[in-house]
């Protein structure tokens, strides 16, 4: 194992998280912000940290069915995140549109617009599922680093 590989193995223990709300009903966001990630299940023990700026982020959590209104803004924010980055879609909405699926305002399968690496289905997903999604994203991130 080279020294570079060793440093990469260290680096992978510091995934910083950024959330993009692409038209979510806020259910998944509440699960992410208040239950799954910070106070109760504490992903900080994995080295995760919420960051306010997309430029600091490594793992992006996208929630919501991607409404027509938000698609340009969401793509712009996504492009601001420096490589290497990993994208996690949280909730069932990014997969199929969920309860909004036949709406004219929704561009639902989000994969057409963003390169999604991990899907965490659920409406909203359980905190444990979100944490597992992040753990899988870390595995993907290790290969990209």
């Amino acid at each position: 194992m080279t020294i570079l590989q060793k440093f990469k193995d260290i680096a992978v223990r510091s995934p910083w998280i950024y959330r993009i709300n692409a038209g979510s009903c806020n259910g998944c966001d509440v699960e992410m912000a208040t239950t799954a990630l910070i106070p109760r299940y504490d992903v900080e023990r994995l080295g995760c940290q919420y960051c306010g700026s997309p430029r600091h982020a490594d793992i992006v959590l996208i929630s919501g069915p991607l409404t027509r209104h938000v698609v340009d803004a969401a793509r712009r924010v996504f492009d601001e995140i420096p490589d290497p980055k990993v994208t996690v879609a949280v909730g069932v909405c990014p997969i199929s549109g969920g309860i909004f699926r036949e709406s004219y305002a929704v561009l639902a399968p989000i994969d057409d617009y963003f390169p999604i690496d991990v899907n965490v289905p659920g409406c909203p997903p359980r905190p444990q599922a979100i944490i597992e999604g992040i753990a899988q994203a870390i595995q993907v991130w290790r290969q990209r680093l």
């Binding site: 306010g52 600091h56 420096p82």
Partner: protein, 318 residues
Amino acid sequence: MSTQVAVILSVLLFPGGLFALTLGLALKGVDRRVAARLQGRVGPPLTQPFIDLVKLAFKRTMVPTTACEPVFLGAPLVGVVSMLAAAALVPISGLYTPEPILGNLLVVLYLLVIPGIVLMVAGSSSSSPYGAIGFSREMVLMLAYEGPIVLVAAAVALRVGMAEGHVATFSLVEIVAYQRTHSIFLLDPVMWPALGAFCLFFPANLGIVPFDIPEAETEVLEGPVLEYSGPALGLFKVMSALKAVVVLGLGIALFAPLGLSGAPALLGWLAEIAVLMVLGVTAVRLSAGRMRIDQAFSFFFKWPLLLSAASVAAIALV
């Protein structure tokens, strides 16, 4: 020649450079771990700040097209260099005496201003509106806390100077030596108001919660450092780690240098710094909410200024 070698070693190795950086990052790790435990969480490993730095080295640095690139990338370098120099200036009682050529208390105060200026320059050169808000808030906060810290320094300098027969002594070495032969200022009632003012100053200088108004994550998304990523952001982390060591070390040199020497002196100094970090930073940032910038401004012009002025007046009159 030997003086130059000693100066370079003290800036790059001990107590500046490598030593201060390791200590600063370790202190940050302790801070995050203790904070998590106080909130009933497990918390990150103690080495997390080191891991974060390694990670940032692997990321790409993005420069906004509208930013002024040389200033944008140069600002954090200036901050790191200023803090390296400042770390070599602060004596450790019984262990490290800075070369007289490096400077005295006044030089430390000037160097401590630079990280704030660097944040202002970084925020305004990034061309981000949040950076501009951070810039103006940093400037207001700095105007507020610089007055009290100058008076604290004046109080200490007057106290030592008048006891030794001249007006004021700004040499940190003499201040530490005086406290080693007499009593430390922590036990001197005349100095208590100045100590209180210093305890209010350093959270503002380190930018932690009641006074983290320029970088407020939830309001201005980390303000001045919003546009930084990768190694450039890492330099800001290095700067703030070094700054924590400088400011806490300065507090110890001014108010409570231990009368030990050799290895016990190092252990005692590390223990003092750790206690100051946990009580003065972690406990404060967990138990307070963020002030508004106008509240912080009027707060600093009320209590710390009053306290430090009281100390100076008491010393001058007694």
